[in-house]
Symmetry: C2
Subunit: 506 residues, 2 copies
């Protein structure tokens, strides 16, 4: 190993600055979605856009390319798995991707994304797709212009996927999702109730006051690993997690008076995201290696805590006395651990993705993937999207969509120009199950540990195999290192079938 | 008026970007002091310093000087009172002041300010001045190096003052403060109690729960002009106000279980600051003319609401039923409007500036001014500061200082390298009284309006004469335009004597 050249320090300094700017954007986003008074939105859009332009200019600075080139001969003599060599790869990717897109196009896209969200909001409020169609068409046109900035790839959608899940291709994803879809349609037809059941069998129907729910959520979170000196929990209408650094982690949840399950599982979900961010080691925190490696890997962490842990039989047994103690008589007296476990794993056909259970959820995603792929390919016209949506909901989930607000207009993503994003939700579920297979091998006592709320071994395993690497390895390599496996749906399907059987849903 | 050259738009765009960066710094500061988990501090320091370096580089960019020079011939043909011409003056001032200071010195100062605060915290916790002396000496040395960056002026302290109160000189301030000091020492000797009275005569001693105090504060604030769609109120140990834009105003207060007066008057104080920021017109908001014109003018707004309004006889009469209704029986039954008025205007010799009443407060400031001036002049050695402090407190306020924590180490300002800042607190009091003289002329019904909580006319007056100008006019010119008067102490002394007489303290 030769002494690092001066160019490395220069590059690291530029990257630390860029990382800081990214963290500040997270601060603005967090504030906007938790604290900002409503009338602050216009000024906030200016602040955020100013910061984005500055960061973009710094990222595409030709000096970064020069530093990278100058460092190449040195890197060739280094350990290819060292942080420094991996940093160069990450920076080159970010720099070259950003530099490909002309500033004017980036500005056009950013503007259209903001306008599109507004059009979507109005369209959803009126449940009228026609008010959104122009914005959607514009988004698709801009994605084609974006794709055209790069060397041709096998499928234009590959470049959109790559922004959220680096390296993943349409050719890999299509058969994977088709296999998953067919298996899930089959499972749902066996397991779903008749559609009249109360959510979670009514065990969480309360009503529960927000203050009581918050105290309960905090008690559970502190027991699983929330650290009051480095975390915050706030309410937000669309829960999310943001990290302003590994020791400043902000998570959110939402409260439904008549369903404590919303707050409980949202909080566990965001806790999983937060724990990932808190597990980034200090030496990577102020560099591009301290970023998210991919949305799929990130989502695997939230889904692991929300579903694989939070909806498991042993965890339900451990958490029930805590909930009963904190929430009082709102939980029906007859509910025992088994009843709770069955309730939170019940399968229901539903219209709304964010309300869907673990079994039906991925069908909501696969529909979105199939539709957005067809939109990008041009095989589906924008005007035909609502009908295709309704047909897909019937085909995959057996439900009839009553209106656009509860159908094609329910999610913000397409309004905000996010194409290639939806699939990462399902990737998270698949990866969580793959990780759990390995966790079960490495921690043979895991069920007993979950039963007693002893979660340090699991946290340590996740930190060791996922969190501490940050973005050092590309997502597929990280998965291989952590599990010895490649991305595939079987572990998730096996896990799900076993749970549905155990919980009496099959 | 000729068509504005392209350079004007270019300059405005750069200034909008710089203003955004300043607002983002305010966001980071607000979050740090209200929301941030304790362990977030280290990363926050990085974020803030990255932003500061970027903003500084943008402000000293030679292109700004070129644009200013190119615009000069055009500006000569324009109305000298137009926004655009005034903008050029403000930008030239900011650009040239910043460009004078080498980046290395700016970084040294910024680092020493952070280190100095830490040293001060430790010294105050130990009540040991010796732990702070080196940091203080370093601050003074750095201020001399800072002053040396500029053309020589009459007094080196002028350049420090100018950072907070543009244009004010030591030669003006010294006789003004000497006159004020002598008059106040005289007033205090006549009006101060024997030192054993309860604060506010016990009318606010409660105890009052924080939730009740907050609800009460909000009720008063909403009645005086707080707008829930564009403001926030949060608790903070050292109350402050920040604006992220005229429609995103964040104010804070603090709660003392045994003294509701702390929350009440802090909230009115910060409301005054907030109303100023909310009154900046949209067309100035994203430019240097939307900044604070000076700390003295800003403080005049907070002091006007806290003291001139909040401690007036008519306002006390209006607010008492609200407080009694909201706080319940915690306010002694025998307290009527007259008793409340007398209580909140009682005069007490005290050790701590932030707890001082309206009469003694300025003596605390004048002592700090005299001492920091002597430190900068070199006529007072750092090691002699504690003794000089204790002597001054005895001479001006007749109190004996028991220890450094309650004496020379009580304020953060010197720890943070803020020299020339303290005088602006007293300027605020003087200016508030000068404004009130004019308010009383322009709004002959003001007492009746305060009695009935009809505060819109006062808010409008302040917006018209102060807020809407932002930083368009230098502070002395703004004062002249608003009051027809120059800065002088008599209106404040007249106001204070009249009130003390009316409230039975003289």
């Amino acid at each position: 190993m030769s002494a690092a050249p001066a160019e490395l320090a220069a590059l690291q300094e530029r990257m630390a600055e860029l990382t800081d700017l990214g963290r500040i954007q997270s601060m603005l986003f967090w504030d906007q979605n938790t604290m900002m008074p409503p009338n602050g939105a216009a000024a906030r859009a200016d602040h955020s856009s100013t910061l984005e332009v500055i960061a973009h200019d710094k990222l595409i600075d030709a000096e970064i390319g020069r530093l990278l080139d100058a460092l190449e001969p040195w890197a060739d003599g280094e350990d290819p798995d060292s942080d420094d060599v991996r940093l160069l790869a990450a920076v080159r990717r970010d720099h070259e991707k950003a530099a490909r897109v002309p500033t004017e196009l980036a500005a056009e896209i950013s503007h259209a994304d903001a306008m599109g969200q507004q059009a979507w909001q109005e369209a959803r409020a009126a449940s009228d797709f026609s008010r959104f169609r122009d914005a959607l068409e514009r988004h698709i046109e801009l994605r084609h212009r974006y794709v055209a900035c790069f060397e041709p790839v096998e499928h234009p959608y590959d470049l959109l996927l790559d922004d959220f899940e680096p390296g993943l291709t349409t050719a890999e994803l299509q058969p994977l999702f088709a296999q998953l879809r067919d298996a899930l349609v089959d499972l749902v037809s066996q397991a779903a109730g008749d559609g009249d059941e109360a959510r979670n069998h009514g065990v969480f129907s309360g009503p529960f006051e927000v203050g009581d729910q918050r105290r309960t959520v905090m008690e559970v979170l502190e027991a699983v690993g929330y650290d009051a000196d480095g975390w915050r929990l706030d309410p937000a209408p669309h829960p999310f997690a943001q990290s302003l650094g590994p020791t400043d982690v902000r998570i959110t949840t939402r409260y439904d008076l008549h369903d404590f399950g919303v707050a409980h599982f949202s909080a566990l979900h965001e806790f999983g995201h937060g724990l990932y961010e808190a597990g980034i080691p200090p030496e990577l925190a102020r560099s591009p290696l301290g970023h998210t490696v991919s949305l799929g890997i990130h989502e695997s962490q939230s889904r692991l805590w929300e579903n694989v842990v939070g909806r498991s039989r042993p965890f339900c047994g451990w958490v029930l006395p805590i909930l009963r103690e904190a929430l009082g008589p709102g939980i029906p007296a007859g509910v025992d651990a088994d009843a709770l476990y069955r309730a939170v794993n019940s399968v229901q056909r539903s219209l709304i993705r964010v309300d869907a259970d673990e079994t039906t959820y991925n069908l909501h995603i696969i529909l979105r993937f199939e539709l957005e792929l067809a939109l990008i390919e041009g095989t589906l016209a924008v005007d035909d999207l609502p009908a295709a949506w309704d047909e897909g909901m019937h085909r995959l989930l057996g439900v009839d969509v009553p209106d656009a607000a509860q159908g094609v207009l329910q999610d913000v993503h397409w309004g905000a120009g996010l194409f290639g994003y939806f699939p990462t939700y399902t990737l998270g579920n698949l990866i969580a199950a793959q990780l759990w297979t390995r966790v079960s091998d490495d921690l043979p006592e895991i069920d007993a540990q979950l039963s007693s709320g002893e979660l340090a071994p699991l946290r340590e395993w996740l930190r060791e195999h996922i969190h501490r690497h940050g973005r050092k390895y590309p997502p597929r390599e990280l998965l291989l290192r952590a599990t010895g496996d490649t991305l595939r749906p079987e572990p998730f399907l096996d896990y799900l079938r076993a749970k549905l059987l155990d919980a009496g849903a099959l």
